[in-house]
């Protein structure tokens, strides 16, 4: 009990609980994970909200993310600066969105951001190609990649502009049977 008080105040914990899908214990656990990443950088005492950010390289090395082909994009999408430096708030945010309890709509928004490599709010062909190459470790031939990307756009594109807007993406992803079960990370 005493330990808890030193990291966060009760109000902070309650606020985090209100803002995320985590329980008190999980938030403390998240903090300890965050702390483990860089013990010399991250203070144990978060009551006065210290300003500290961890670089992408450290976060990407977490076992939960290490094998994920989109790990860099995930971290970048959740960082405020877009470069992948995460403060603890953003760190919690990331795992909250990726947690099991997060609703489909919220997950869809962030999934869209993650797959949007060039951050132009559209999934264009290049984005899809990058995604596909990450997924298959570039084992498909360029023609196959081309075909798959074209088919994917053709399937999901509702307005015929040859790229996927968020509306297209949402329409597609909300019907996907596996989206909820695959788009989550347990921490």
């Amino acid at each position: 009990m005493g330990n808890k008080q030193t990291i966060f105040t009760d109000e902070q914990l309650d606020a985090y609980q209100d803002c995320t899908f985590f329980t008190r214990k999980e938030i403390l656990r998240l903090h300890s994970r965050y702390h483990e990443l860089a013990p010399h950088l991250v203070p144990m005492d978060y009551t006065n909200e210290p300003d500290c950010k961890l670089p992408l390289a450290l976060i990407v090395d977490m076992p939960e993310l290490k094998e994920n082909p989109f790990r860099n994009r995930i971290v970048e999408s959740f960082s405020e600066d877009g470069m992948g430096n995460l403060s603890f708030n953003e760190f919690v945010d990331m795992f909250s969105v990726l947690s099991e309890m997060a609703p489909r709509e919220l997950k869809a928004i962030y999934a869209f951001k993650i797959y949007d490599y060039n951050v132009d709010n559209y999934l264009c062909k290049e984005d899809l190609e990058k995604t596909l190459n990450k997924l298959t470790k570039e084992e498909l031939t360029p023609e196959e990649v081309e075909l798959v990307c074209e088919k994917a756009i053709e399937e999901a594109d509702l307005d015929g502009d040859n790229k996927l807007s968020y509306a297209d993406f949402e329409n597609m992803i909300t019907r996907a049977p596996d989206f909820l079960s695959t788009f989550h990370i347990r921490i």
Partner: protein, 943 residues
């Protein structure tokens, strides 16, 4: 800035706006629920300023709303256009002019922002409007209550109620000029209601803030503000009695939310092995995890069965029944006593085990036992039947639930590639090996789809595949038939052998040998043949499961056959022993009375161990099942230990000194055998169901087995197995497993019910001894324990004249329900087709629309709305107003975005119109107005 944010939020994903901007947006958002967006902004700013200045609370709560009202007021002269739309609040605030304190700055801002915020509202209301509309009504009623309390306190009585009503009207965008006379009095009242509403909004925000795609920092700030706001104004809203009640209610809601949260935590903590299974899942994919989930489900079900059996049968017998050695059935016979404690005997469940509470024979046949008059035989029978009933119910319910889940999202093939691309990576994977496998499997699946896509038209391949599949099925049917005949043949032969004594070792054990050989050879054979079919592994797994299941049914059949033979011979033997013992008794009594000339005979002074007794076939059957279960456990565990663990150890450590690569080459590591394990589990459960009636202790053994199996197999799979070559996802509903289980349940139900209904129970052991049939216990209870009329009632109920109509009725009901469900299915299909068509149409239209005249589009947009709105006057003004504001965002560098929205928003006005706003004056004022404004506004920029 705000404009930009508004435009951006249309798309709904831009979360990177800088802090102040987003803050602003958030505030407006909240404020905008009310017709006058500007007011909200003013009020807020003010409220915050006050907080900083730490004014008095009372003051605050009175003035903040007023300030807001004034803001709206100010704007009016300056911005006549807004008047129509914002009538609802303007009339509330009109009378406030003398007290105006608010500076013009906010107003100016508002003037610019009013529409903006409306638009904002429409955006963010998109998702929420429905909810809000519904909720607001309720909220308003609530606030009405609070207000009543208020009214008393302030002696304003009627006026307020009127005002409240009026306010509601105002909110729902109807013109409310009629209320102007009351306004002077009601001001604070209306504001109060508004404040209340705002508090509710904040609360809603607090509840849903975690669902908002905002940055955490912003979320925290907003949360804090919202909480402060709520804390500050919440308590102040009710006065006097109402206030107390309100505070109480608020407290209770808080407590309730807290309780729910705790309960949720508790509930998730109660599900066992969640972590373990997830770990397995992350390494081996969901197909392997589905086995463990199935195992856990079985464990849950068996725990209930265990509770039933032990709570109602075993423990009462132990606590209240006669102790061991008191009567013959509870004593080891003299002849067996020397060896009764030998390990080998006990391992065969003979000796002390046989005469223990574990088996049927031990139970007493007295109608009641102990001081509590517990009706043991009745309870025994009911528990036996009840376990079946419960299992049936549970299996069917689970199946129905799974089917429900599975039916939710069909539409295969619509987004094959897109889905594969965006949802095929399992973010749970945290292991390099699994990740590699996943990469491989994704690549293969893409390649498969590509091939499918390319060769969709070519027929020859399909024909070949079809031919191969038919061939494979033919081969498998042949081998199944062959093994079936083999089993039949062997069983026949063993019956012949049973009458002879000069048997060689092979002849004695022929049946077992053949059976295990079949079990060993056939599954791999099937697997090899299944390669021909080239199914997706998920489908292949189902086929494999079904085929091995059919094979194992032969196993079951031989077992039951042998068992019934044994039972029949035991029954004959028992009959003769029964006659003999009755004869002996008669003789004894005859001698006794002849010698002593005493008619009231005392029982012969024999130790219970010496009494002649029958073979007690029920216990024999029970022992058979327990033995089978135990040997099954041993075999399973040993297979894992040798087949997986030893193999893994050898491969791992001999690899250093071997001539080829053991890990990659021939023996390699084992894969987790899903089909074998699932079937093992299912058949084991069948044994439990069949045997539990004759050996109540079996359920306990099974619970132990499942428990240990969970840990053991989890360990084994993590330590010794490698993931499948093609990690595949389990089907969402593991109804196939459930279907197998249901089949086995029926199969095991049959023999048990048959024995209960037809075979006579043993005369000297078990709870039903001395009765002609087991179910006589029920008759006995009816005649002896229930009042007489119940007996007659039951006799009527058992009348065929009643039963036949009842059965007919049930058949009819089944028929009816069946046809209804079919009709639903049909309409479901129709709807799906329609959706598909609508989607295609939409797609086409969108593709074509972009080039068509924008004016036409705008006109089209206007039509349905106009026809729907009864009072055209207040609706119209927003149109022109909307346009300019909307164009601005377009020019603010977000043109692309908006253009996009045009396409989206205007595509299908005919559908959208009516759905968007059903009956005329619903929701708050800005709702429809903003919605319309949006549609039209969007139309503008591209042109």
């Amino acid at each position: 800035m705000p404009r930009r944010s508004a435009a951006v939020e249309d798309v709904g994903i831009e979360i990177d706006e800088d802090e102040t901007d987003s803050d602003d947006g958030g505030n407006r958002r909240k404020a905008n629920r009310r017709p006058a967006g500007g007011r909200g902004g003013g009020g807020r700013g003010r409220g915050r300023g006050k907080k900083a200045g730490s004014d008095e609370e009372e003051d605050d709560e009175d003035e903040a709303p007023k300030g807001r009202g004034r803001g709206g007021n100010r704007r009016k002269p300056g911005n006549k256009r807004g008047g129509g739309k914002n009538n609802g609040d303007d009339d509330d605030s009109e009378d406030e002019s003398p007290k105006k304190k608010r500076g013009g700055a906010a107003n100016r801002k508002k003037g610019g922002k009013a529409q903006d915020s409306d638009e904002d509202d429409s955006d963010d209301g998109k998702g929420k409007r429905g909810k809000k509309g519904g909720k607001k009504g309720g909220k308003e009623e609530e606030s009405g209550k609070g207000k009543k309390g208020d009214a008393k306190g302030k002696d304003k009585g009627k006026d307020k109620d009127d005002d409240k009503k009026k306010k509601k009207k105002g909110d729902s965008s109807s013109d409310s000029n009629s209320n102007s006379d009351e306004e002077e009095e009601s001001m604070s009242e209306g504001e109060m209601a508004r404040l209340m509403e705002e508090v509710e909004e904040k609360k809603k925000l607090i509840a849903t803030i975690r669902n908002k795609p905002w940055r955490m920092k912003r979320r925290l700030v907003l949360l804090k503000e919202a909480q402060q706001f709520v804390d500050k104004f919440e308590g102040a809203l009710g006065k006097g009695k109402g206030r107390k009640w309100y505070a109480y209610k608020v407290m209770m809601t808080k407590k309730w939310i807290k309780f729910q949260r705790d309960f949720e935590n508790f509930r998730t903590a109660c599900i066992p092995w969640e972590r373990k299974i997830k770990e397995v899942e992350s390494h081996f994919g969901s197909s392997v995890a589905s086995y463990f989930i199935f195992l856990r489900w079985m464990y849950g079900m068996n725990l209930v069965l265990f509770g039933l059996t032990f709570g109602l049968v075993v423990i009462p017998e132990v606590l209240m029944g006669l102790p061991y050695g008191s009567i013959p059935r509870k004593t080891v016979p003299r002849a067996e006593q020397d060896t009764a404690q030998d390990y080998s005997v006990l391992m065969d469940f003979n000796g002390y085990c046989k005469y223990s509470v574990l088996f049927y024979g031990y139970y007493d046949d007295k109608r009641t036992i102990g001081p509590l008059k517990f009706r043991l035989p009745l309870s025994y029978l009911l528990v036996g039947i009840g376990s079946f009933g419960y299992s049936l119910m549970l299996v069917i319910r689970t199946m129905a639930k799974n089917a429900d889940v599975g039916g939710g999202d069909g539409e295969e093939g619509e987004f094959t590639f897109a889905w594969k691309m965006f949802t095929s990576w399992d973010y749970l994977i945290g292991n390099a090996e699994t990740a590699d496998n996943k990469y491989a499997s994704i690549t293969t699946s893409f390649k498969e789809s590509i091939v499918d896509e390319q060769e969709n038209q070519k027929d020859e391949n399909i024909h070949l595949r079809r031919f191969l599949r038919v061939l494979a099925n033919f081969l498998i049917t042949c081998s199944l038939g062959g093994s079936g005949y083999l089993i039949y043949f062997v069983v026949k032969r063993s019956q012949e052998f049973a009458n002879r004594n000069d048997l060689s070792w092979y002849e004695k054990n022929e049946l077992e040998i053949i059976m295990s050989l079949l079990g060993l050879v056939c599954p791999p054979l099937f697997e090899t043949i299944a390669e021909l079919e080239d199914y997706h592994p998920r489908i292949a797994l189902k086929w494999q499961l079904g085929r091995i299941f059919a094979l194992f049914l032969g196993n079951l059949y031989t077992f039951l056959f042998a068992l019934f033979d044994e039972v029949n011979s035991k029954l004959d033997e028992e009959q003769s022993i029964k006659n003999a013992s009755i004869w002996a008794m008669k003789e004894y009594y005859a001698n006794y009375s002849r010698l002593l000339n005493d008619s009231d005979a005392t029982p012969p002074p024999m130790s219970p161990a010496d009494v002649i007794r029958g073979p007690c076939w029920e216990t024999a059957v029970g022992i058979e099942f327990v033995k089978l279960t135990v040997s099954d456990i041993q075999v399973t565990y040993l297979t894992i230990l040798i087949g997986d663990f030893a193999r893994a150890v050898i491969v791992r450590f001999l690899n250093y000194c071997w001539c080829w690569d053991l890990e990659a080459g021939f023996p390699s590591y084992g894969e987790f055998d899903i089909s074998g394990n699932v079937l093992g589990l299912v058949f084991n459960q069948g044994m439990i169901w069949m045997g539990a009636f004759y050996a109540p202790g079996l359920v306990g053994i099974n619970v132990l087995r499942l428990l240990s199996s969970m840990y053991y197999q989890c360990w084994a799979v993590m330590a010794t197995n490698v993931p499948h070559e093609r990690v595949f996802k389990a089907s969402k509903s593991n109804n196939f497993y459930m279907g197998l289980l249901l089949l086995i349940l029926f199969l095991s139900l049959l023999p048990v019910v048959y024995t209960i209904m037809t075979l006579p129970p043993s005369f000297d052991c078990g709870p039903f001894s001395g009765r002609a049939k087991m179910f006589d216990v029920i008759m006995e209870t009816i005649t002896l324990d229930l009042p007489a009329f119940m007996g007659t009632l039951f006799s009527y109920a058992a009348n065929p004249g009643l039963i036949i109509p009842a059965v007919l009725l049930m058949v009819l009901a089944i028929y009816y329900l069946n046809s209804v469900s079919e009709a639903y299915q049909n309409s479901n299909m129709e709807l799906k087709k329609k959706m598909q068509m609508a989607r295609d149409e939409e797609k086409n239209r969108r593709n074509n629309k972009d080039s068509t005249n924008q004016v036409m589009k705008d006109l089209e947009d206007l039509l349905p709305n106009r026809s729907l709105s009864p009072p055209p006057e207040p609706e119209k003004p927003p149109e022109p107003e909307a346009k300019p504001t909307k164009t601005k965002p377009g020019s603010a560098g977000k043109g692309v975005n908006l253009q996009k929205d045009v396409a989206l928003a205007s595509s299908n006005p005919n559908v959208r119109g009516p759905v968007d706003r059903p009956p005329g004056p619903r929701g708050p004022g800005p709702g429809p107005g903003a919605g319309r404004g949006r549609g039209r506004g969007r139309g503008a920029p591209p042109s």
